[in-house]
């Protein structure tokens, strides 16, 4: 299997958007698995790449995005996932982690051919990023208990799409690196 990296999507978040009410309980449920996934990736020395929306704030850097998220009312969803010194960070402007970002270039530089995806939203940015990885012949694992959704039905369908149509491996976070 190719070299693996963990990609954690849109978790530096102030949760002040309209779907937050539906999203937050799912994030709370997925948070422990995300934390363990990052810990295990770091223990194994694998790259951990934060890909995060800039929320239209082109003047901010990721320190400011993190700070805004950490001082908001949902800081408890951000604090346990804060990047460490070795984390990579890529800002995205739109949904997919790959669209008009240097993610594909960074993965090539690192020699990564396999992504473990976690974060939010299962039926949106996670799905779109899985597609854009598959289209680039990267293999994809989705840590099923470490992704959060807004619409549970669409999330289930998205997971099925990733498994059936994008050849993604769907496993619990605890089995992501096995």
């Amino acid at each position: 299997m190719a070299k693996t990296a963990v990609v954690i999507i849109d978790m530096l978040n102030t949760y002040d958007h309209q779907d937050a009410d539906a999203l937050v309980p799912s994030v709370e449920q997925a948070l422990p698995a995300m934390i363990r996934l990052l810990e295990e990736a770091r223990r194994r020395g694998l790259p951990v790449i934060y890909v995060n929306d800039n929320f239209g704030k082109w003047r901010s850097h990721h320190g400011e995005i993190l700070e805004a998220a950490l001082t908001g009312p949902h800081a408890h969803l951000v604090e346990p996932l804060r990047p460490d010194e070795d984390s990579y960070f890529i800002v995205k402007a739109r949904h997919s982690a790959f669209y008009e970002t240097p993610l594909a270039y960074l993965l090539g530089t690192l020699g990564v051919g396999h992504l473990v995806l976690c974060g939010q939203v299962t039926e949106q940015c996670v799905l779109y990023s899985a597609l854009d990885a598959h289209i680039r012949h990267l293999s994809v694992t989705v840590a099923r208990d470490a992704v959060a959704h807004i619409h549970p039905d669409l999330a289930d369908a998205a997971v099925n799409m990733m498994e059936i149509n994008m050849a993604a491996r769907i496993v619990p976070a605890a089995e992501a690196f096995t």
Copy 2:
């Protein structure tokens, strides 16, 4: 509303892949609406853009792709949709109509800001192309009776995703230009 083009996806097809048994009946059902959609687009003078997989045949041009499809056992699904003199044609190598193709460039040249999507497969290339259009701030209409699926449940979910998460308008082909 911005200038409209019809994008017809992957309909020049030999249907010799493993999912054909599930796909063909859905294509047969959607075919009349596709035919009427193209007729109406041409009557209105709107651009009709065929975006079609090259099936790994980099040496073929679209005439050969069409010919192969027209001489296969499912020619009745291809013949009524054959491109005319004014049709545009873009070859894609992977799922999305936009990935590593000049489609975005062509749409910019034509001044098109609104796509009417038809073709196949609803829960795959149609969904992915809708996403890549939405990400580029193009507005999208899906002609619901003019798209064909393999998995009806995933197709329904895909249509919901396009409507809820990509702001797509979901209408019958007969209302696509209204």
Copy 3:
């Protein structure tokens, strides 16, 4: 004429690479025109976009890139050009300002159709960015006295290429907005 933005290329720099000896005198000469160009752009309320190499430091944000440049031996070439509160900032990994970056997306969001280029290196990143702008149908002005080079002959040729083959307007910085 379309809305204008200034793009300043690779000026947050530690000048510790092998070509620095040839580059620094040219930067010193171009610096006053760059300063005036940014001042005038800000006076007019035009977007100023810093596009800067990340020097392979994917973990750094632009504050750190700026800080490194400001504490090096060539801080006098950086200090007068430091971004202000309203500056945009885009990190690039490779030569062109457009390659695998969100610059094209940001320009679209801002409604910008005309770029005034300054910075370094005339015959490298400035040339490549002018090309990638021209290819996208953005119009380009090069502030001739506000770009710095390594090889004067190649810089002259690059300016000719931009003028003849990319339809760029070549003017002194003082005339960039006229």
Copy 4:
């Protein structure tokens, strides 16, 4: 060294544009070296990839582009270079062979890491394609006697840029594969 492919740029051409008078004599001079380069590539079983402008004719396929070029007054510049059964063909809409085309994807599929460039115009599409190859970490050889120019001075500068700034190998066509 990585697997090699020959990329021949914009040689299916009607030469009815405004720079043709300056270009044609240079093409006539470079033609024999191009012919030998293609012959040698085919003898060695290397992929030969035609990347050609579509001249805004989105409805044409490459057979029609070839036919138009073969029936024009400069057919003698096209006939000896016509694609064979094994040639790959990619249509480009703008200058660089890589911009909004599937070339990078095709090269990845073929496992190609080294391009030998020939064709026209040295100081335009050849230069831009060399840049876009270098940016993608592909290595580049330019067959110096198998590229044609409009402006000899800019062509010399372009060759210097490719050698100095893009790490291209500049050799006669006869040494392109050694």
